[in-house]
């Protein structure tokens, strides 16, 4: 019988510090929710967090909570609870898992952070449909349940060039948030605080970009699978100094690895790009699967989604409008194709894996022929795997394994 090889995956020491940040973040929200002494805004992951911080809200991101439902594999049992009240199994499984958890009154936060029993109670919900329409419906559920105001930005989708008219509309919508938010907060909007949040958010974005760029080294000190958890502070903490400090520490550890030629796996023979959402309930399994084949998944579209290089404290509203419209997920396929091509080049990639995520077509880029066009143009082979971000009923581990093994075999034989 063929012996299984031992698989080496090197963990980063600073991951612990980032974990500490996340723990403090959730405990602060929990304390505020229990005492009511600070107001809490729920925000979509690429929503207008800087404005909320500028007003002094603590900001909670349900998507991160849903990703935790995925990693803890609670999601698959909770999704049907939401299905039963009319939310289709075909729609965003972040939404259905989160709603299911709420209806069942469970949260992975209580396992990870003893003492936390519930998600923090919102005073307001603020979305941006730049990523998808699902977030609006998701937040609408909670607005009804908690009986709190629902505000939002209705963004453009499939944007080619970002034009003045796009920006004017989004900027106006951002500005229009201020008045109702002031009422909820019970205080005046402070432009200086807002500028500071935009400045810190931009710094966070630059630092996170540097983090991801270290993966261009050979061997890469970082993998996509690390990235999906390391990005936590960039998602929930952007606009705070504490998040930025996390990335300063992380980047210095990564630079040290690069200088010493230490890779996240031993024997990095193949450099893979991942497009699409992670399969949260299979992060460990997928990371071992690739590592065991001498393949390192070094970069992804997903982790790069929290780079907002346009943010500029000098012109905070306009630059926010630009940053949140310029994002990959908001753009047309022409832009996306170019974007991925540049990434493949920058990271010197040998193969691309597209995750066709059943319930998130918004983060899936192999539905309109782009993967085949890119393969033809670049000569870099690609593989599509079927799965889902949270709903493990949509995937077959055996099929994934066979597909990935066959793909790496193909790269190996053609090397």
């Amino acid at each position: 019988m063929v012996e299984e090889k031992e698989i080496v995956i090197r963990r980063l020491n600073t991951a612990r510090d980032l974990g500490k940040f996340m723990s403090e973040y959730y405990y602060e929200l929990d304390a505020a929710s229990k005492s009511g002494d600070k107001k809490i805004a729920w925000c979509t992951s690429v929503g207008p967090a800087e404005i909320l911080r500028g007003l002094g809200f603590l900001v909670y991101f349900p998507e991160t909570h849903s990703a935790m439902l995925g990693t803890t594999r609670m999601a698959t049992e909770l999704i049907p609870v939401a299905n039963a009240i009319g939310y289709s199994p075909e729609i965003c499984s972040y939404l259905t898992a989160d709603v299911g958890a709420f209806l069942r009154n469970v949260t992975p936060l209580s396992k990870a952070f003893p003492g936390i029993e519930k998600v923090p109670r919102p005073d307001v919900l603020v979305y941006n449909t730049n990523q998808c329409r699902d977030v609006q419906d998701w937040f609408a559920f909670y607005a009804h349940r908690f009986n709190v105001p629902l505000l939002g930005i209705n963004s453009y989708r499939g944007v080619g060039d970002v034009t003045g008219s796009h920006l004017a509309s989004i900027k106006m919508q951002l500005e229009n948030l201020i008045e109702p938010l002031e009422k909820i907060m019970g205080k005046k909007f402070d432009m200086d605080l807002f500028r500071e949040a935009v400045k810190l958010s931009r710094e966070c974005s630059d630092l996170w970009e540097q983090t991801l760029a270290t993966a261009s080294a050979k061997p890469s000190p970082l993998s996509f699978f690390d990235g999906t958890t390391l990005m936590g502070p960039a998602v929930v903490g952007r606009g705070t100094e504490a998040a930025n400090n996390c990335y300063r520490m992380l980047n210095s550890e990564l630079r040290e690895r690069v200088d010493k030629g230490i890779g996240v796996i031993d024997n990095e023979k193949h450099r893979i790009y991942w497009d699409g959402m992670p399969v949260w309930g299979r992060l460990g399994q997928h990371s071992k699967l690739f590592a065991g084949l001498g393949a390192n998944v070094i970069a992804s579209t997903y982790c790069s989604s929290w780079i907002f290089s346009a943010l500029d404290p000098k012109d905070p509203f306009e630059s926010m409008a630009r940053a949140y419209t310029e994002l990959f997920i908001v753009r047309d396929d022409n832009y996306k194709e170019n974007y991925i091509r540049n990434k493949l080049d920058f990271f010197d990639v040998d193969g691309v894996v597209y995750h066709n995520s059943r319930t998130c077509p918004n983060n899936t880029n192999c539905l309109y022929g782009m993967h085949q066009r890119l393969e033809k143009e670049t000569g870099i082979p690609s593989l599509v795997i079927d799965g889902d971000l949270n709903d493990l009923r949509c995937l077959s581990d055996e099929q994934t394994r066979t597909n990935v093994e066959a793909f790496i075999e193909q790269l190996e034989e053609n090397a």
Partner: protein, 270 residues
Amino acid sequence: MSQARKLYAGADIGASRTKVVLIDEDRKICGHATEKSGTDFTQTSERCLRLALAMAGTGKESIAGAVSTGYGRKNVAFSNDTKTEIACHARGCFHYFPEAITIIDIGGQDNKIIKIDGTGRRTAFKMNRKCAAGTGAFLEEMAMRLDIPLEDMNGLAELSTDMVKLGSYCTVFSGTEVLENIRHGKKVEDIVKGLFYSVIIRIVEMDSFTDTVVFTGGVIAHNRFMAEMAREILGKEILIPEHPQLTGALGAALYALHDDETEMLGKMDF
């Protein structure tokens, strides 16, 4: 004293059937066996090996190398290495047809499309992954609905004069469509031909086919008429290897031979 006969084994443990092939140093098949995979892959593969060895008229001592593939590839006690079924089908088919080909393998639980160039290099592959549509499992389910033995399907399809077209690509929906057609008094042979057509269309919509097409797998081994239909639908010549169900196992055996040859070369003193 003459040198002992050297044989190479390939074991393809599919979700439905287990196949073992033995080849000699000249790449000739000298023994093979096929059995239902069952629930104990290790035992089934051993049993197939014994049967294949008996057919080759030799014993286990002749085996100079073995590679396993397929769903249960990690459960084969006698194998020294594993390869995916994609690699093995490619290798097995290229052995018969050494040119740029597109392989369509219809298995019990899944189907695959594998493209190889004129040098035998694999350039792309796809597997159907989501459901039974276009696989042997679909036909099994439908044979049950029609209350006919699976092995009668090919003969029935050949008799059809007025094929029933089934519109759905979901196995459950197709089942309902079949029932509806029975209710409307459609002939069984016309429904069976419609089922064959549905299998082919599920595959045709997976990719574009430019090179010569080679059909493999158990479904085609037992339903040759399907290849004739595919020929018409694709408007292309379709090749079928000598043992369409064994190409995966043959490919595995060819890998075993290749590994042994490489090792021997390494040991040679030039």
